[in-house]
Symmetry: D2
Subunit: 167 residues, 4 copies
């Protein structure tokens, strides 16, 4: 009865226009697949863009917020979990996601990938560079999937959920 | 666009049959009103009973879980936020709720009421004894509402949301 | 080899001059007994006054800070644990203390007493009123000790540590 | 009046004998310099070895523990901060350290380096491989220092503290 949650991780302030466009398309695709989209819930970058895509496609969206209120959070987060933990919330974002998709890279994003590997979560590195892929594969290659496109990413999530009978 | 969340707080292992029945009715009433029900997400006590009532009425339910996975959580929690924080998650439950309803009393429950008062959240004490009411009113009477029934509780939430134009 | 930590809990902004004086004397007495004093580490109220007393007596002091840096923390905290968790840090303060002494009362303080009861920690209620004592005794009388003076409090801590061979 | 804390980060279960020996030497050197050594406080790997070195040299040691009690923690941690947060405590370890030294690499360690970069903390990468250095320098080269030996590391900490007049 519990719902599938796909976490989308990526840069906030330093997201490129390409990161944001990819995140928006990813959010749409997650919603079309019937899954919930979860991000760090801020009003900019990959967090905001993927929630926007998901919400516009009629999907349910969750923001795991850093502050002690929902001020300045993404208007596309329908469910706002208020943590008052700053970047400490990254671990909650990771643990609450059945699968994580990572696009773009920044320090906060890297902490989420590392915590996901530590927790043996399945991580999809979408459109990442060679250094990033090698660094994280060295830390736990078994749980790392590398994809190039949103379509390939969605197929990987479906395969993972079906093989592991998640939920 | 964000959804209203009503937190329901009360005893887990030490919940009485009356606590659980009241929690179940409260969950149903919250769902009927169109709000999301949020609890600590464990599989027993007020947490479980209120989520069950809400889910059976077709409402959306959230469990803020103490462990580092969703094992042993309430089967009536549709959205599972996994915190790995034990009772440290109580602050997240409080901050994520627009209004809190408290029925029955135990140490964990008392910590949630106190944190809610600290955060200036509106708290409805449902069917509480005189000592409890006096203790919490001494700490911040402005935010404490005392009710006797589920109906009166739902009316109080409606009044609060309408006066404060929450969301 | 690990050191005994006594947590001192009480109001911050709403502390009375009497609360602060009692906290200062308590900090001195904890340091004289050779124990570490731990508080929420802010620069006012019972947190600050007890650390000041302890430090002036040559004791070691710890502040469990709410913010994401040590700005605005008590100058009497020698070891600053920076949590970025706001009131969420209260659970860490409780769990890290071998015994807790509570003087004065406010919402944050009440949350610490409740979390301590939930964690089955020994709590000394110093100079509390009847409502407070009855409320917390209802939640777990076995772990609650009631005292009137600093001397009586220190004797209670010594008895508890010796009977339970803590550390 | 507050004390300088140097965080030591590195693998736990997967630490190599070389990692542990280097950690032990680093702990000794930190203690000799008069600073406090802080780690994740478990009873094995780099956490334990560096605390052991520091304690044997007469230094003060802090463990930021993952569990909800001090069970199974390093016997060389004199001050035990009990978080009940699992790997969520990594952010607290990072924020509480004035400088971080990272030796060996594992998923948890990588999360600490990433959170430190996010928080603009100074990080010393001791004896790391080329992929690791390039990955983290891409995320925030300004705060990353690369060293090969314990001596060089201690000099880097001294330089940083003196230039920035920390504490």
């Amino acid at each position: 009865m519990s719902r599938i949650i796909v976490g989308v991780m990526g840069p906030g302030e330093n997201a490129t226009p390409d990161d944001n466009e990819l995140a928006y398309e990813l959010g749409r695709a997650i919603a079309k697949a019937g899954w919930i989209t979860l991000t760090g819930g801020r009003s900019f970058g990959v967090m905001d863009a993927s929630l926007k895509g998901a919400a516009e496609e009629g999907g349910l969206t969750i923001g795991i917020l850093p502050g002690d209120s929902d001020k300045n959070s993404s208007e596309h987060a329908q469910i706002k979990i208020v943590t008052s933990m700053g970047s400490g919330r990254n671990y909650i974002s990771v643990l609450s996601s059945h699968v994580l998709v990572v696009l773009g890279m920044a320090a906060g994003t890297a902490s989420e990938v590392a915590l996901a590997l530590k927790s043996r979560k399945k991580i999809i590195l979408l459109n990442q560079d060679e250094i990033t892929i090698r660094f994280f594969k060295n830390l736990g290659s078994y749980n790392v999937i590398v994809t190039k496109t949103v379509d390939e990413t969605i197929r990987s999530v479906k395969d993972y959920l079906s093989v592991n009978q998640v939920v």
